[in-house]
């Protein structure tokens, strides 16, 4: 199989999962990618699990929607989306998905009611680690198989350890482990186990109070059937994520901590044999690294005093920006080396304006979908003064 490219990703994949540290702009990248794919004529859905729901803000759709909502036709056309292309957005509500699973899996209406009214269940997202991620996977599966979308892009939740998403089914299952259940749901176990459960029950009664302990027990009893489903699904989900139509995209900013996390993520994904598409280096100054330094020659002969002093002050801003641009280029090269032959390393500019509205997203989408060459490192020059003059000449 030839190496994955961003264009192929947009045109061919059915699921793209964007991963990365918090604050690297995953949501923006997910939305821009979706926009680029919709422009290419695909029916795209973006799911975000970010509690702050930034994507909804950027795309101007309401929060807390039961179903995905497509971008209104006139707004879609304004950003270059034509039929059959379509861009839909949805923000995940774990409780809603969980309720859906409960209703689907349980046949006894009285049991369903008891579970939905159980106080522990009402706090289920606070009770079960990985429930949010787990429901995201469940929802993803549902949307992919619905046939309504050609491509589903999942924006994973930000966390210090973004990896949690990958093993979320395992984590949910850990909590719902039958051995844990036995703590609360006495079975026909041997006598030693029964004695142990009684001790634990006693401790829980002291710590939680008898009423709460009983409610917890009821929750576990009612949730047991759901648990079996969750566990059974785990293998299916793993297979789904390793499949041909799925790609993982590692998003990072140039900040060192974010890059380190991306590398850690990459290693982990390889261990888990997840299909990695490549890296996206977001908010990079690499694009601007070929620009000239502010120099008197950029001004007309008869430039005003104000222009001259403004340009002089601009040099103070330019030097660190140039240095950062060079560092970002080096980083991009490293990302390319790492993905050689297997995937791609793409770079997105640090936009002067905030990427918070459709127009800005559309700018980024252009960067993502164009086949133009990405910034390259210039061969090192011998002398600084000369190179500044040379690049100024080239620019004018």
């Amino acid at each position: 199989m030839s190496a994955m490219t961003l264009t192929r990703l947009i045109h061919e994949k059915r699921v793209v999962v964007c991963c990365g540290a918090g604050g690297v702009g995953k949501t923006t990248v997910s939305a821009s990618l979706a926009l680029a794919a919709a422009r290419a004529g695909r029916r795209v859905l973006v799911i975000t699990i970010d509690p702050s729901r930034r994507l909804a803000e950027a795309l101007g759709v309401d929060r807390d929607l039961a179903e995905p909502v497509a971008l209104a036709p006139e707004r879609a056309r304004a950003v270059g989306i034509e039929e059959p292309g379509r861009l839909s957005t949805w923000t995940l509500d774990p409780k809603r998905i969980s309720d859906r699973v409960v209703k689907r899996l349980s046949r006894d209406p009285a049991k369903i009611r008891a579970l939905l009214e159980n106080r522990v269940y009402k706090n289920i997202t606070a009770m079960i680690a990985g429930m949010q991620e787990y429901t995201a996977v469940e929802a993803l599966h549902e949307f992919v198989t619905s046939g309504k979308y050609d491509l589903v892009i999942l924006d994973t939740p930000p966390s210090r350890n973004a990896l949690r998403f990958l093993d979320s089914p395992t984590r949910a299952a850990t909590f719902l482990d039958r051995r844990i259940l036995r703590l609360f749901v006495p079975g026909e176990e041997n006598r030693i186990r029964q004695a142990a459960s009684r001790i634990i029950e006693k401790v829980l009664d002291i710590a939680l109070g008898e009423g709460a302990r009983k409610e917890l027990q009821e929750f576990f009893q009612l949730f047991e059937g759901i648990l079996l489903h969750l566990n059974r699904n785990q293998g299916e989900m793993k297979k789904f994520f390793s499949g041909d139509g799925v790609s993982f995209l590692l998003v990072t900013s140039p900040a060192r901590a974010a890059v380190e996390e991306a590398f850690y993520f990459e290693q982990k994904a390889r261990e888990l044999e997840l299909p990695l598409a490549g890296f996206v280096l977001n908010r990079s100054l690499a694009w601007a690294s070929n620009r000239p330094m502010p120099h008197r020659s950029l001004l007309d002969e008869d430039a005003s005093e104000v222009e001259v002093s403004a340009l002089r002050k601009m040099r103070g801003l330019a030097k660190p920006e140039k240095d950062r641009g060079m560092r970002h280029l080096e980083l991009l090269e490293e990302l390319r080396r790492r993905s050689q032959g297997k995937g791609f390393a793409w770079v997105l500019p640090e936009l002067a304006a905030e990427a918070s509205d459709l127009e800005a997203l559309s700018q980024l989408a252009e960067h993502l979908s164009e086949e133009r060459p990405q910034p390259k490192r210039k061969p090192p020059r011998k002398r600084r003064s000369k190179s500044a003059v040379a690049s100024v000449k080239k620019a004018s």
Partner: protein
């Protein structure tokens, strides 16, 4: 009520805004003011690296406070430690605790249920707040917690109310009420929202302030990080804007950021009556700002009343 007069500070904000750096800078500033500072982060139940430890050149931090720098102790808040302390406080020693806590399923249960995880963390925080030295003074005068991303902060600050709703009586309820007596008291505790002078981070910061209010966690203020310096006069700015339209050059991104930062800052100040502390943008190696120089700027701010 100044920063230094309060016992506990939760430093929060979304990923990538420099929250840990700000927490470390606040700790340095408080230590310079002569306070015994405890700087803590929430330990990942699955292990992982220590963001605070790294700022002091070490890989890991332990649940037991250890010296990090002059006047600064550091530790990792650990749910399991909190659970142990809690169980020991409700059940007088003996084989019962040992049997219960040695149970693997119970341990897994405590780790896998997030609210129980938060409860352990909260109990650990409480025990550190109550710790006394030999003279009977608080061992840690100013306790600064680098909180993980937004959602976790609200999970922790809303925990006492959730638990009290589930368990209105009993030892855990007592512990939660004690937690509230610290965290909901503006003379003892404050949350600080770290954000950037950009449109989305500012709107998220405002959202987080609303969230804190709904959990009755008093907010100390907003710390606006990486505010770019503006060296230009108005005429110069106009002239540059015209010039840049025709001729791209280095410094352009920074120049445009100055303008958008001013708009976002004004928007933030208009929407909140809380103090807004501005920290300048300083680029160190690897796009990370040095906490130490930020402490110079924070020192007078944390001493003043706010």
């Amino acid at each position: 009520m100044s920063f230094l007069d309060r016992r506990i500070h939760l430093v929060t904000g979304k990923g990538g805004v420099g929250r840990t750096t700000v927490a470390v800078a606040l700790a340095h500033a408080a230590a310079r003011a002569g306070r015994r500072v405890l700087l803590a982060e929430i330990g990942d139940p699955e292990g992982g690296y220590s963001a605070i430890g790294r700022k002091f050149g070490r890989e890991h931090l332990t649940p037991e406070p250890e010296p990090l720098a002059e006047g600064i102790m550091g530790c990792q808040l650990c749910a399991i430690r909190g659970h142990e302390l809690f169980v020991r406080s409700v059940i007088p020693a003996g084989p019962l605790i040992k049997a219960a806590l040695a149970s693997k399923p119970l341990r897994r249960f405590l780790v896998a249920a997030p609210s129980l995880h938060e409860m352990g963390v909260l109990y650990h925080i409480l025990s550190l707040l109550k710790a006394k030295d030999r003279q009977g003074r608080p061992r840690h005068e100013v306790f600064i917690v680098d909180m993980p991303a937004t959602g976790h902060t609200l999970a922790l600050t809303s925990l006492p109310a959730i638990i009290l709703d589930l368990l209105p009586v009993g030892p855990m309820a007592r512990a939660m009420r004690e937690g509230q007596s610290y965290l909901n008291d503006p003379t003892k505790a404050a949350a600080w929202v770290v954000t950037l002078p950009e449109q989305l981070p500012v709107s998220e910061a405002l959202e987080l302030l609303d969230g804190l209010r709904s959990t009755e966690m008093p907010a100390g203020g907003v710390i606006l990080n990486r505010v770019p310096e503006d060296p230009f006069t108005e005429e110069e700015r106009d002239a540059l804007a015209l010039l840049l339209d025709e001729k791209p050059m280095h410094g352009e991104v920074a120049f445009r950021r100055i303008g958008s930062a001013q708009i976002s800052t004004a928007h933030l100040k208009q929407r909140t009556s809380l103090p807004v502390w501005e920290l300048p943008e300083i680029f160190g190696p690897g796009d990370e700002e040095p906490a130490f120089s930020l402490a110079d700027i924070l020192a007078p701010l944390i001493a003043g009343t706010s």
